[in-house]
Every structure is written in structure tokens, then in C-alpha cells.
């Protein structure tokens, strides 16, 4: 990607990672970008760097605009390696004596990552930096999504440099929301579900503060994916909605299966849910990725989990999804457990315990079928699904 002027004197100089498919366990089906932004004013500022391995591209993009040595100030909005991995090389290129602006936690975390004697300037929340015709304001956004995370806001251009918030793992030459079109929302949703879901209480507070402060935002520049310039309010409204986790008229039936018995149950349960007018989707774990399952969980009102019993335990792939889901702390869900078993059948009560630990509102009973569900067994699954569907309808009344 080349440097692109996104506002007078403000350039996108980040890079595209076309080939990444696994982003720390999150499936990225068509790559991602690591965005960085260059502001050329009386002082020249670089906001964030890129993942290690992409330093040359970043420096080449900067050089299209200005000699990297002319950069006066480096700003790090977030310590995670996809944005800081190139810092040593970039600091070397611009000059190790240049000030490195970051949050207090940023200084702590960058020091622990890089052990370099850089000239840190840890900003106070709300601190302003004058760079000539513009000023930059730093807003601490701790745990959105790391302790060091912060936003940098340019009042004159009304641009919010939002670090990982409002990002999407999307690789493309389409740099803006109005160019890429509405398909980007599904990527933004997956990003929210997998990176931010556990911080929804915090997100609602930050959005409230932004509203109260009357911050004018014409453009949001996140560190991954496209820039929101046509409708920044659209992604803000989506974050507000996703953070509330009210749940839609939707249930997902997540399961794995050994000899198709738990599969038959899952599909029958889903049909029962759908018969109550609730959108239902059986999701076979080994045919899906855990990160796509979480995107479905985000707006589902009910999460139904099924597993066969293997060696007196939950099937391992189901545990994987449960562990991942627990960490992301979904809220306000109706939960249910089911599964086929041979002789001991522990999996269902183990799933129930996991879902209870996630504070799901559990259906009164679970459903187990021994070996292969016969017609009566399948009827009990449909009836179980209908009960879940009615519970969803009741909860959303």
C-alpha cells in the first residue's frame, strides 16, 4: 500500500498483511492491515507502527511523504506487538532521542517489551500536545483493550485515532467505509465479538464520556482495516448496541459429535427453536472456527451447547469453545446443555456447570439421549428446542 492523504497533511502510511490467517487464535479469512498515521505540521508526528517484518514497507510509505528523520514525535496508542513490533527499527530510523508519547501504562508495558532507553513521555488523560496548526489530545482508554490503550484526537481535523477500537481485520486497497461498502460491518462485528466483548461495561462508559464531552468526530482511524469517514456514527452506534448485549430473537446450537447422534439432536433442537419463530442455527464446532462462533454468540439470546461424552468428559473441541467463550464474558444469555452418550454421560452436567459459571440463565432441565436418538428421542429434542424458543420469546417481550 502507498501513503494516502486522508485529510490535508494527514497520511495513512500503514501496511497490508494479505497472508495472515490466524491472528492469535482468531481466524482472519482475508488478511488484515496494521495502520499507522503520519501528520505533517510544524512538528511531524507518527501515530503507531506496524507488526515486525513490515518495517521496510512502513518506512517506504513514510518516505513517500517525508524523510523519516524529520519525524519529531512518535506516539504509541497501544503496546500490543502488531502495533509496536516495529518500534525499535522506527525509533532507530527517526532518531532514538525523539520523544515517545504513550500512556502511563504504555510506558510501563513498552519498557517491559523492549528494554530500550527511549525518551518516554507518559501523558496524563486529557493532555494536549501542540504541533503547530493542530493540537492532539490524548484520551486514556484503559482496557480497550489493554491497560495501555489510548486514543489520540485531533480537534482541528476532528479525527479520532482510536487504536484497536472500531477496527476490523480486513485487508484491501479500499481504505474507507464508503468505498468498501456495508460488507465491512460483519468484519467489525467479528472483531468486536472476539477482542472487545469482555469489556462492554467499559465501552458503554467511554461512549457516554464521548457523548458528554461533545467531541466532534468526522473521521475514525483505527489500527486495523478501513477508516470510518462517511458514517463514523454508524460504527459508534453499532458499538453501543453490541455492548448492551440485549440479544436478538436468535439461538445458536453449538455442538460436536462423534457418531452423528449429538448432531441429530442439535439439528432437531434447532428445528424446535425455529418452530417458535426464533432464528436458529446449529453450528458444528469442527466445521467452524471458535472466533466465528463468538460472532454468532454476540447477538444470540440463547446459547445451546451439546457434546457427546468421551472418556467420562466433555468432547475436547467443545471445551475449547467453552473456555474461549468464558473468557469473552457474554452477558444476558439463556443457556441449555444436551448430548448423546453411551453409558456414563457426564458431558451434559459438565456443560451445565460451565454455562452456570458464565452466569447464563439456564433452562430448568438438560437433555440427554443414550446412543442414537430414535423417533421418540428426536421428538424430545424438538420439544426441548420449542421450550428454548419460548424462553427466548418471553425474555425479549
Amino acid at each position: 500500500m502507498n501513503a494516502v492523504e486522508i485529510a490535508k497533511g494527514v497520511y495513512s502510511v500503514g501496511v497490508i498483511d494479505w497472508n495472515i490467517r490466524d491472528f492469535h487464535g482468531y481466524s482472519v479469512e482475508n488478511g488484515s492491515t496494521y495502520n499507522a498515521f503520519l501528520i505533517v505540521d510544524e512538528k511531524v508526528v507518527l501515530i503507531d507502527t506496524v507488526k515486525k517484518g513490515f518495517e521496510d514497507q512502513l518506512l517506504a510509505n513514510i518516505a513517500q511523504v517525508i524523510d523519516p528523520k524529520k519525524i519529531d514525535i512518535m506516539i504509541s496508542n497501544h503496546t500490543e506487538m502488531d502495533h509496536s513490533g516495529s518500534l525499535p527499527r522506527i525509533m532507530h530510523a527517526i532518531g532514538e532521542d525523539k520523544p515517545l508519547y504513550c500512556s502511563k501504562m504504555g510506558q510501563k508495558n513498552l519498557s517491559e517489551h523492549f528494554k530500550q532507553p527511549w525518551k518516554y513521555h507518559a501523558v496524563e488523560n486529557g493532555e494536549t500536545l501542540d504541533i503547530g496548526s493542530r493540537s492532539l489530545t490524548f484520551l486514556e482508554t484503559r482496557m480497550l483493550h489493554w491497560p495501555d490503550s489510548m486514543f489520540t484526537y485531533c480537534k482541528e481535523d476532528k479525527i479520532l485515532f482510536s487504536s484497536d477500537a472500531f477496527g476490523q481485520h480486513y485487508a484491501g486497497f479500499e481504505l474507507f467505509d464508503d468505498v468498501v461498502g456495508h460488507t465491512i460491518m460483519s468484519h467489525a462485528k467479528k472483531y468486536f465479538a472476539n477482542i472487545l466483548m469482555l469489556y462492554t461495561a467499559k465501552i458503554l462508559k467511554v461512549l457516554e464520556q464521548v457523548r458528554e464531552s461533545g467531541l466532534e468526530i468526522d473521521m475514525i482511524c483505527p489500527d486495523h482495516g478501513i477508516i470510518w469517514r462517511k458514517e463514523p456514527e454508524k460504527i459508534i452506534a453499532a458499538y453501543d448496541k453490541w455492548s448492551r448485549q440485549a440479544g436478538e430473537k436468535k439461538a445458536i446450537v453449538v455442538y460436536d459429535t462423534m457418531w452423528h447422534s449429538t448432531q441429530k439432536m442439535a439439528e432437531a433442537i434447532a428445528s424446535g427453536i425455529a418452530a417458535e419463530g426464533v432464528f436458529a442455527k446449529p453450528v458444528h464446532i469442527r466445521s467452524s472456527h471458535r472466533s466465528d462462533i463468538m460472532t454468532e454468540v454476540l447477538d444470540a439470546k440463547a446459547v445451546v451447547v451439546g457434546s457427546p461424552t468421551l472418556n467420562n468428559n466433555i468432547f475436547p473441541t467443545v471445551s475449547d469453545v467453552l473456555t474461549y467463550m468464558k473468557g469473552l464474558k457474554p452477558k444476558n444469555k439463556i443457556g441449555a446443555a444436551f448430548g448423546s452418550y453411551g453409558w456414563s454421560g457426564e458431558s451434559v452436567k459438565l456443560i451445565r456447570a460451565e454455562l452456570e459459571a458464565m452466569k447464563f440463565d439456564m433452562m430448568a432441565s438438560d437433555l440427554r439421549v443414550q446412543y442414537v436418538p430414535d423417533d421418540a428421542g428426536l421428538e424430545s429434542c424438538v420439544a426441548f428446542g420449542r421450550e428454548i424458543g419460548r424462553a427466548v420469546n418471553k425474555a425479549l417481550e
Binding site: 501504562m105 486514556e140 484503559r142 482496557m143 491497560p147 469489556y199 461495561a201 467499559k202
Partner: protein
């Protein structure tokens, strides 16, 4: 004395250890922390903490 967990980031305040980095000496109960004390990891305020069970 009870331990308290930060609901935002998972940090656990242990009264026995206190928070010496931020001027809280060991043996300080959660209730006795100053009102403006914040989570040393994520900056959450005291009301974002709940008792560890």
C-alpha cells in the same frame, strides 16, 4: 480480610499485600483504601470491584 477482584481487568486486591507501588501499605483492608484509589492495572475505580468468592 477479604480479597476484591477488579470486574474490568481481573486484578485481585489482596489486603495482605496492599498496593505499595501506589502508597497503600500491606494490611490495608479494601474498605480502608482511599476513595480515589484506582486499580493499578486498568485504572478502574473502587466501585468496579467485587468481593472474591
Amino acid at each position: 480480610m477479604d480479597k476484591y477482584v477488579c470486574d474490568i481487568c481481573g486484578y485481585v486486591y489482596d489486603p495482605e499485600a496492599g498496593d505499595p507501588d501506589n502508597g497503600v501499605s500491606p494490611g490495608t483492608a479494601f474498605a480502608d483504601l482511599p476513595a480515589d484509589w484506582v486499580c493499578p492495572v486498568c485504572g478502574a475505580s473502587k466501585d468496579d470491584f467485587s468481593k472474591e468468592d
